[in-house]
Amino acid sequence: MFYQLKKLLKKSKADYTEINLLKSESSELIGEKNQVKGTNILDTLNVFVRVWIGKKQGIAFSNSLNEDVIKKAVKIAKCSKELEFFYGLPARQKYKKVMGLYSSMPTEEEMLLLAKQAIGGIADKKKGSYLSELSLIKSSGQHFLVNSEGIEAAEKTTAFSAGIAAVAKKNGKISSCEDTIVERKLPNVADFAKTVKKELLALLGVKKLKKKVTMIILSPKALASLLGHAFLGNFNAISVIKGRSLFVDKLNKQIVSEKIILRDNGSLSGGTRSSNFDSEGTSMQDIALIEKGMLRSFVHNYNTARHLKTKPTGNGAGSGIGFSNILLKPGKKDIIDNVARNNEKVLLVNSILGAHTANEATTAFSVKANAAYLLDNGKKQPIKDVMLSGKFIEALQDVAAIGNKIKNVCGFYLPAIALRKIDVTAG
């Protein structure tokens, strides 16, 4: 493959050229209403080319590896305008091998067995629960990258995901629960299904919230939604340079509670979003974003790093910037134990609706608590018709506690977090 890519590279008449080639094979087993239903198989090839003529950039994609895609990118570059800054591309470098990115692929029969485990873990006639939708995906990919500065990088990865939507109906009550796990190795689907069922049954018998809460605990899943949609974009160095980020001029300043230690780690062994190199060929790294509440770094591609006179962080994603695995350092105690002692009335929120409507530039959010419980006097009551709103950065400035159990939520490795500055509106 490198021979073909290098041959194409030579045909480029641009000053700088980069070619990413992704080959992928995946298979998805789907199920509905306690039964398996079908399998979808995908075999794709994607080629992404970026070229620069001076500071003018051209980008072209195709499903074919041939000269046309290079010619198109060069034509676009000629028609483009100069970027405000361009310093070139990363040079050839050594990569530290990130472990745990590849594992063996199960057969179709093994996938069927996993599906049956998922169904068996949820379906329960006595308790009224059933698996509404199931998606089990196995995929393997090969990523090749060459550039005009001598980079030749390749890696093989696998990924597995299990998505379950379940419903319970009993004695006129209804509850629903949906969750997804994404891992580099085959997940324990049976245990996952049991966790979903436990939450599903716990949510039967929701009542309206009649008491004033003094604290909100966001579970890892709820926290991942708000971090991802209402907060992380402010670390994107392009947003910082362009003035859109809340963190402009805030480097090494206190931005949130000193309890927060947040990292972006693309080299995490077996990490859901780990790889050996980013889309520009920079080695993936473990970067401190926030240390004891102080802003320590943005996430960069090669050119934003050069522009801000710092090192690239391995977050190049196409012509932009992406995040890898996000890790929040856990606390030392169980979060419920940590907050219960003060006789607080706590709203425990396990999942939310509408996080994607948050305003990243202000971190303002207004969401619905879709799976929530009132913790009061040792009791746990499922609650309905509750909305949460506020500014997420303000909420993170007053952290009551951080839990001690980490959960992987599709590449967010987070504990639960207890916050006070979130407004709760009950219907």
Binding site: L42, I59, F61, K72, T357
Partner: protein
């Protein structure tokens, strides 16, 4: 690159007919797209792509098999994969399935556009988008970030089955802007979006709309937080669009009904809303070619206009051929797939509430203390419980019928059935459409709505 022409359809038919399949189809696509992005004074990106591939979908016994490839030469291998997995599924499943009768067709639909975007030079588009971003950025010193994006995608789609050969060409044009302002430690961001299938004319009046977005951003810069609680709300057309889409649309998708994930199961023929509420899904959208339109769905069923609710009564779900078979209904032309690489599932197209009789002035006069909501940001639903949320980027306090002051963005949440009953009147005209993308089952498809305003009593706001 290999093209649709290199797909050997006759060979494919022979290979598929060797097996005892209840259903088979082949979908193939070639898509060319252009994306241009400008940020403040800089042209950040011009990208073009030419992509394509095909998929084979089969039903063997009660098992579905689907296989897709970007290599048009791999037809035999891909068919073999699809049939093999379908046979495995047929042995494993206990769901009885089939497909409702289709409408055989042999047709090619290539619309004539008033202004084809491919007749506009890349330089002209580049200048337009960069000019819009620069103008917005320079319009006020408080505007710190102005992002303008243009996307144009031309899809040549082919659908081939044991009964049909249908080809259609769809040309999507979309322009969006995101404007951020900052002053005295406060930030605010507003957005604008416009899209359709009518060609390059989508960009007409875009400069004026982005200018309005800049003014709105500055207006809301110092907006206070809205008081949460139950209030009377006048939701404008955009907001009604998201509400109808989230609160009702997803629950009316028949695959959600069949999987046990819809609160509307068993409600056909029942009154679920006041008699002045009718809701339509229309993939034809007349001559307007709204963003969610097409000529045929991804099972070859012609686009059509469907009353989901008529005068308060739930009339039908939205169907593909499989759900129509299982629920003994007719396909409604709502089988859609993000691309050839995805299997078609039930999706909305252009979904809207039929206009009513009330004027905005009159609806406002009914609000003693409440809100006017505009600027839909999006929403989400749990269709099994009927629980939903949708968000507005603009909120205005209304007291005794008068619009008083702007307030920070809010969301409405609730239960589908309860909220439908709380709609007290429907506006008498269709307002500006709100094109967007809907996510379901790891797929995104373009959707649209052209809705009237609605007045809702006792909506939960935060």
């Amino acid at each position: 690159m290999p093209t649709l022409d290199s797909l050997k359809l006759n060979l494919a038919r022979k290979l598929l007919e060797k097996h005892k399949l209840h259903y088979w189809d082949i979908r193939a696509e070639e898509a060319s797209s252009t994306g241009i992005n400008a940020w403040n004074n800089e042209l950040r990106r011009i990208a073009q792509s030419l992509t394509g591939g095909f998929s084979v979908r089969v039903l063997y016994g009660n098992g579905w098999g689907f296989a897709a490839s970007t290599d048009f030469k791999k037809i035999a291998e891909t068919i073999q994969k699809a049939v093999k997995v379908a046979k495995v599924m047929a042995r494993a499943t206990k769901i009885k399935t089939g497909v409702a009768a289709g409408k055989p067709a042999r047709i090619k639909k290539v619309p004539k556009l008033k202004k084809d975007p491919r007749d506009v030079s890349l330089a002209e588009k580049r200048n337009l988008i960069l000019g819009l971003a620069k103008k917005a950025y320079r319009s006020d010193s408080r505007i710190k970030s102005a992002i303008v994006g243009y996307t144009e995608t031309v899809e040549n789609k082919l659908f081939f089955s044991y009964e049909s050969l249908v080809e259609q060409k769809l040309t999507y044009v979309h322009v969006g802007a995101r404007i951020m302002a900052s002053s005295k430690g406060k930030n605010e961001e507003q957005h604008y979006s416009k899209g359709g299938l009518a060609g390059y004319s989508v960009v007409e009046d875009i400069e004026e709309k982005i200018s309005e977005t800049c003014k709105k951003t500055l207006l809301f810069l110092n907006a206070e937080k809205a008081e949460g609680g139950n209030f009377t709300v006048l939701a404008n057309g955009e907001m009604t669009d998201v509400f109808i889409h989230e609160a009702l649309g997803h629950a009316s998708e028949a695959d959600n009904v069949l999987s046990g994930g819809s609160c509307l199961a068993g409600m056909i023929g029942k009154k679920i809303a006041p008699r002045y509420i009718s809701v339509i899904d229309d993939s034809t959208s007349g001559n307007r070619m709204d963003f969610g339109s097409y000529y045929f769905d991804d099972e070859g069923t012609p686009a059509q206009k469907t009353y989901i609710i008529k005068n308060g009564i739930l009339k039908t779900f939205l169907h593909n051929r499989e759900t129509a078979y299982k629920l003994k209904a007719k396909p409604t032309g709502n089988a859609r797939a993000q691309s050839f690489a995805h299997r078609p599932i039930v999706r909305m197209s252009n979904t809207y509430a039929e206009k009513g009789k009330d004027s905005i002035k009159n609806m406002l006069s009914k609000i003693k203390k409440g809100y006017l909501l505009k600027g839909a940001v999006g929403g989400q639903v749990d269709p099994a419980k009927g629980s939903f949320l949708f968000s507005a980027s603009e909120a205005y306090l209304v007291k005794k019928g008068q619009i008083e002051k702007p307030l920070r963005a809010v969301s409405i949440s609730g239960n589908i059935f309860e909220l439908l009953q709380r709609i007290v009147s429907v506006g008498n005209r269709y307002e500006e459409p709100w094109p967007g993308f809907c996510g379901k089952g790891n797929q995104r498809v373009p959707v649209n709505g052209r809705n009237p305003s609605v007045l809702i009593k006792g909506a939960l706001i935060s």
